[in-house]
């Protein structure tokens, strides 16, 4: 043995391999659970990032109040400014927007030509700000001078017609492409005025269950034809930061009279439960790691207590304090990084087990989440090591501080 390492032989002699092994196994168990939970949560994130298909790929949902005492009752379903302000203030809310409604009569019809019966219906328009909508087609544009109104209808209406009405009535099914080609007449009446426009389907919405027109048009039309505009808001569209945020469920649980229509159907609830599951996994990991870290700290106490005489004598021989502290720190860092490295390797095996199932759900990039997990593991194990090192330093300083 080289002379410079003789003191390491002394410092090592009180190290208990059994304690080190027990710590390794305990913290490895905790780290595997923690890292697997973290890695899985990273892997499934794309599931909640956006909806599939449809126009709006943002995290939107609409809120209205429950109608309580029937259509003719006195139920007030309008939101007060205070209520809207309260919703906007919630930490999970990115932005809130109000639905604008048409305050005039709308009648739409298709003219099948000379001598043919017109097919028409009374209807209504609503609008939301364009930023709530994504992937808008170039047709979603309205000029003040133009006579053509772009309209978004729910995709459900098309499905209802094609798979419900058309089938039962012996009518032909119509593709979305064909529907976009059809123009129809729209008559707006109100405020003593009446005008006829051309309506055209500019797209289909999977998220907002209403008939939408551009906000600029509806504002103009309301100012021109609008009557009985009480300025009340009965529906709000909310864009959230993360649909899986538990805060959303908690907030609305405290507002029983609010009715929420999530644009992602049940995905919010699913996300909530998945989040809950991941939180539980992470908590279990932490619950294993906490005692294992305490065990390490107790082992350090015992080791340094048993080495008290050796440390004191080495200091008196002229050994620097850090040269007595460093070997313990290096051992702890090595042990913790081994735990982290070994844990990561096992997590990569776990990931390869569930990877095919997630691929079936359309997730195909797993490298990013593993890198994030590796960085998390490194930072976590370094943090634990730092805690251990501070403790070692403190204990050694305590025993080396002479009277």
């Amino acid at each position: 043995m080289r002379n410079s390492f003789i003191h390491l032989k002394l410092l090592r002699q009180n190290v208990s391999p059994i304690q080190a092994f027990a710590y390794f196994i305990a913290s490895l168990t905790g780290v595997i659970v923690l890292l697997a939970g973290f890695c899985f949560s990273q892997d499934i994130r794309p599931l909640f990032r956006s909806g599939e298909g449809g126009i709006s790929r943002k995290e939107l949902f609409t809120i209205n109040k429950q109608v309580k005492s029937g259509i003719w009752g006195k139920s007030n379903t309008a939101f007060t400014e205070k209520e809207i302000e309260e919703i906007s203030r919630q930490p999970f809310v990115r932005s809130t927007h109000r639905f604008m409604q048409s305050h005039f009569e709308v009648y739409a019809w298709i003219n099948f030509g000379m001598g043919q019966t017109n097919l028409g219906t009374e209807m209504f328009f609503e609008s939301v700000p364009d930023e709530c909508l994504e992937n808008l087609s170039p047709e979603w544009r309205w000029d003040v001078d133009g006579k053509q109104i772009p309209i978004l209808i729910p995709r459900d209406y098309v499905n209802l017609y094609n798979f419900g009405f058309a089938g039962s009535q012996g009518l032909p099914q119509i593709s979305e492409g064909l529907m976009r080609e059809i123009t129809f007449n729209v008559r707006l009446t109100g405020n003593g005025l009446q005008e006829i426009f051309k309506g055209r389907i500019a797209g289909f919405s999977t998220d907002l269950n209403t008939i939408l027109v551009p906000e600029t048009f509806l504002r103009w039309a309301n100012s021109r034809f609008g009557e009985n505009d009480d300025g009340k808001t009965t529906r709000i569209i909310v864009e959230v930061k993360n649909p899986a945020d538990m805060g959303i469920t908690e907030f609305f649980a405290s507002k029983p009279d609010y009715v929420i229509a999530r644009n992602k159907g049940e995905s919010g609830k699913l996300a909530f439960f998945l989040n809950l599951l991941i939180s539980a996994i992470l908590a279990v990991g932490a619950m294993i790691l906490l005692p294992s870290t305490l065990m390490m700290i107790l082992s350090i106490n015992l080791l340094i207590y048993k080495s008290e005489k050796i440390l004191g004598n080495l200091l008196l021989l002229g050994y620097r304090r850090w040269s007595l502290i460093m070997p313990y720190c290096a051992a702890v860092i090595f042990l913790n990084l081994s735990v982290g490295g070994f844990g990561l390797w096992i997590v990569s095996l776990v990931q390869s087990l569930y990877e095919p199932r997630l691929r079936a759900l359309g997730i195909d990039d797993f490298s990013g989440s593993f890198t994030a997990t590796a960085i998390f593991a490194l930072l976590f194990m370094l943090s634990v090591s730092l805690l251990d090192i501070l403790w070692i330093k403190r204990k050694i300083n305590n025993i080396l501080t002479t009277s």
Binding site: M1, R2, N3, S4, I6, H7, K9, L10, Q13, I310, N313, L314, L316, L317, G318, Y319, R320, R321, T402, S403
Partner: protein, 214 residues
């Protein structure tokens, strides 16, 4: 370092021993480099305590100790480290050897800090001391007298201006004391160092320029 000066030093304990006749406690004393000093006292007078104060092991004394012009109460870890590696070497009364290490490892533990002695020099000293055959043996298997010789050789394996010896020959016979004083004498002469030796009364064959009663 040329001088160790004590000024009104008071022992950090109440021993029950009458200190009024002490030439160390509550007095002004200087130890000079290049001079040999014998500290003699009965057991319990505070010889080991004095060395513990001089070596920075005990800091709870009253009064002042100066190394040249520096008051050691201002010393921190770094200063003590420099002192223990380069200026003062100490043979402890309880030796402070590591039983679990071999003789050569115990000596190497000190020598590796400053690489003051070559392997051959250490081997030669062990031969002179009559314990060369014990070099590879664990210290726990040695007699106390053999351990004392190992501790002395270890203390010589570093540079120093003062050598503190705390009853270093208590378990050695006359012949071995003569051999060890010879080795120590050569080393301190070569370095021009000062010797401060504690004894219950024996003078151990050194020539002293200063004799002090604790």
């Amino acid at each position: 370092m040329n001088e160790i000066r004590l000024s009104n030093l008071q022992p950090p304990f109440i021993s029950g021993v009458d200190n009024s006749a002490s030439e160390i406690w509550f007095n002004k004393v200087s130890f000079l480099r290049g001079k040999n000093c014998l500290l003699s006292a009965a057991s319990g007078a505070g010889k080991t305590t004095l060395f513990a104060c001089l070596f920075g092991e005990r800091k709870n004394f009253k009064g002042n100790i100066f190394f040249d012009l520096s008051n050691i109460s201002t010393f921190g870890d770094r200063e003590w480290n420099v002192v223990r590696r380069n200026f003062i070497s100490h043979v402890f009364q309880d030796l402070r050897l590591f039983d679990e290490l071999t003789v050569i490892e115990n000596i190497g533990l000190k020598n590796c800090l400053t690489r003051h002695k070559r392997k051959e020099d250490i081997r030669l000293m062990l031969e002179k001391a009559g314990i060369a055959d014990k070099a590879g043996e664990r210290v726990e298997h040695l007699s106390w007298g053999q351990k004392q010789r190992v501790a002395i050789i270890r203390a010589l394996c570093q540079p120093f201006d003062f050598l503190l010896l705390d009853e270093p020959f208590s378990h050695l016979d006359r012949d071995n004391i003569a051999i060890m004083t010879g080795i120590i004498g050569e080393e301190i002469t070569a370095r021009g160092a000062g010797l401060i030796i504690c004894s219950l009364g024996d003078e151990h064959g050194f020539e002293y320029q200063q004799k002090i009663r604790i």
